[in-house]
């Protein structure tokens, strides 16, 4: 059970997708003008990342990965013994794109203002590297399907935390008077830089937690 907790802390705080891994920075800067659209965007990204990672993991495990059975490399689900891992990226993108398209239709129906507010950034989620990043990391780390869904959700949460935090900061920046040449995106990038520096403070947290849980196990045994 605590493995999931460590995974969550790892994805949200330690190597946060936006502020530590620097994935998905373009919507991060684009949508963070005000907190409402930022909330909408984070909701959309969490939805897409969770479902996207889940589907990607399913495809990855049952279709792409060759299974070791009796020493012979054979792929029981696909009767031909071929390793299809090279299809990883293309299939993940296909899944995520269709996922976003589905979301767009649903969102247009559910809340028109949010759809208007997100505008171009909603279809842009397909190209958002954070979403694809989560799926690919899942594949590399050989997470099980449940683990990778959980990791997708956790990294989506990390993205949401960073985005909402950053959008409330940016609303505060508009009130200030940075020098003319720094107004707008330059000052936003500086703030993002400082925020990334702050998140580095959490480095080593997940390892610390692991050792802590081991202590408890030894203590209890």
């Amino acid at each position: 059970m605590e493995n999931y907790f460590v995974l969550l802390i790892g994805a949200v705080l330690v190597n946060n997708f936006v502020l530590a891994k620097f994935l998905g920075v373009c919507p991060f800067l684009g949508v963070s003008k005000n907190v409402k659209t930022a909330m909408g965007m984070s909701g959309a990204v969490i939805f897409v990342m969770t479902i996207g990672s889940a589907l990607a993991a399913v495809i990855h495990h049952y279709v792409l990965l060759p299974k070791e059975i009796g020493g012979v490399v054979v792929n029981p689900h696909v009767w031909v013994a071929i390793d299809l891992t090279y299809l990883r990226t293309i299939s993940f993108i296909l899944v995520i794109a269709s996922n976003v398209q589905l979301l767009e239709v649903v969102l247009q129906r559910l809340s028109q203002p949010l759809y208007q507010g997100l505008g171009i950034f909603l279809p842009l989620i397909t190209t958002n590297c954070a979403v694809l990043g989560a799926a690919v990391i899942n594949a590399q780390k050989e997470h099980s399907i449940i683990e990778s869904t959980w990791y997708g959700f956790a990294s989506g949460l990390g993205f949401a935390l960073a985005l909402i935090l950053f959008s409330s900061l940016r609303e505060r920046l508009d009130i200030g008077h940075p020098p003319k040449s720094f107004q707008g995106v330059p000052i936003a990038l500086i703030t993002a830089g400082i925020a990334a520096m702050i998140f580095m403070g959490f480095s080593g947290l997940d390892i610390g937690l692991k050792t802590f849980f081991n202590h408890i196990k030894q203590g209890l045994l």
Partner: protein, 461 residues
């Protein structure tokens, strides 16, 4: 021990009452000329009913209230109306175009040059035993005498004492707090005319049919509390209030004495309370028992630079210059920084000595240049002191930033319309930012927006 609750926030500004509280009330000498503005009260301005060159007597009605929320205006002395003319734009009857009202805008007004005799011409009949007279007649007399709230708001009293059908106010609160620094008019009035004030209060209680009456007096006026308690009559109670600005504001006073909270956006009438000023009670007495209309009021002329500060019974229409002459002028003209009508916390800064004292002019305060702290544009450092002192529990620091960014929609959402403009936030702001002016700007925009919405509705509706 003050037996009452304390409202949130509030500040303790420099008292400055010691300058003029010991001076007895002097009656002002007769001056040559009085400029009487036509809109001295909340509501539509009065229409003049006299012509140029017409001779009038002291106390004679010279301008009539057009509709219910308005008040008559009477001549302060006998003399001749020197100049009455039409205002070029609005077409109103107008005496002189360059009479500047306390708020600085051009105000149409009548000018009377006194003939020196000061002959009285009261048309109102004095009423001795007012208890047996019907309420309607008393209310009519108050309207006829042109009585308005003397606390500073100048709301016509005959409207306030005549509650709408559904409401039955059970508490009448008499505001003797006078929490505004430097002003001592009410304080002196309480010391010198306690019986008349108590009689006036009883009349108002009778007209309203209120059950309990509280007179709230701040603890920094012990002698006033003693004299008022000495002349007390049954049904009236004197309550000692702790010294805290703005104790005298309506909502805070009601909460302090009756623990009832006036809900936002509603009048004290909602919690069955009516608040009247000490001066108003005295004016009601003079109107009913002595049949004397409101053309005189007690004004404090005070401040460091004034040669002989004191409390004067000034006639309405005396210009600031004449008032200052009475008080012996100023010690050093170079050092004078500001002239205010009203007290230093809510008073209006003036820039010409011709502005007349109106029915609501409770004081003329002068401040030296070194006493004044200029407003600066140092950015808000979010220290939160203004949030601590705001008596209405608003958030002045965030609201001021919203006002600077001209986000008046956000300002309306953050309740700028409930700001009392009492000045506590600007008083404590370490960056010395003009917070009250920003909120007043916000209010004017919000009112303009609501006006536009009203017109759109009318156009559609």
């Amino acid at each position: 021990m003050a037996d009452h609750l304390l409202f949130p926030g509030g500040v303790h500004p420099k008292d400055g009452k010691s300058i003029s509280f010991s001076m007895p009330i002097q009656s002002a000498p007769l001056l040559e000329e009085y400029t009487i503005p036509l809109s001295q009260h909340i509501g539509t301005p009065a229409q003049p009913i006299v012509k140029r060159g017409q001779r009038v007597l002291k106390g004679q009605k010279i301008a009539e209230a057009t509709d219910n929320i308005s008040a008559h205006i009477h001549a302060p002395t006998s003399g001749e109306i020197t100049s009455v003319s039409k205002h070029p734009i609005t077409g109103e009857m107008l005496a002189m175009t360059n009479c500047i009202g306390p708020a600085g805008h051009m105000v149409s007004s009548l000018v009377i040059t006194s003939d020196g005799e000061d002959k009285e011409g009261f048309t109102l009949m004095p009423i001795e035993e007012w208890q047996s007279i019907d309420k309607k007649i008393l209310l009519e007399r108050i309207k006829e005498a042109g009585i308005v709230g003397m606390g500073g708001a100048a709301f016509p009293t005959h409207v306030k004492l005549n509650p709408p059908q559904g409401k039955r106010p059970d508490t009448l609160i008499i505001n003797g707090a006078e929490c505004e620094p430097f002003l001592t008019a009410d304080h002196r009035l309480m010391l010198e005319e306690p019986e008349k004030i108590i009689e006036g209060i009883l009349m108002m209680k009778y007209i309203l049919g209120a059950k309990t009456v509280y007179i709230g007096i701040e603890r920094n006026k012990p002698d006033a509390i003693k004299t008022m308690k000495k002349h007390l009559r049954e049904g009236i109670e004197v309550r000692e209030l702790r010294v805290l600005y703005p104790q005298g504001s309506e909502k805070q006073l009601i909460y302090a004495l009756t623990k009832r909270k006036v809900r936002m956006g509603t009048l004290p009438m909602e919690v069955n309370c009516i608040v009247q000023n000490i001066g108003t009670a005295f004016a009601v007495f003079e109107a009913i028992v002595m049949g004397k209309p409101l053309f005189e009021r007690i004004t404090t002329i005070t401040g460091e630079p004034v040669v002989r500060p004191g409390n004067w019974r000034l006639r309405i229409g005396t210009s600031i210059g004449d008032a200052l002459k009475m008080a012996g002028g100023v010690k050093d003209p170079e050092k004078v920084g500001k002239i205010l009508i009203g007290g230093p916390m809510m008073g209006l800064a003036q820039f010409s000595l011709d502005t007349p004292i109106m029915k609501s002019g409770s004081g003329v305060t002068l401040l030296n240049k070194d006493e004044i702290v200029q407003y600066t544009s140092v950015p808000c450092i979010r220290c939160g002191r203004c949030v601590d002192v705001c008596p209405m529990n608003l958030m002045p620091s965030t609201m001021s930033i919203q006002a600077m960014k001209e986000r008046f929609d956000l300002l309306e959402e953050w309740h700028v319309m409930d700001c009392l403009e009492c000045g506590c936030c600007s008083y404590v702001c370490p960056s010395q930012r003009p917070l009250v002016q920003l909120f007043r700007l916000g209010k004017s925009h919000v009112l303009k927006k609501r006006q536009r919405e009203l017109e759109k509705l009318k156009a559609k509706g």
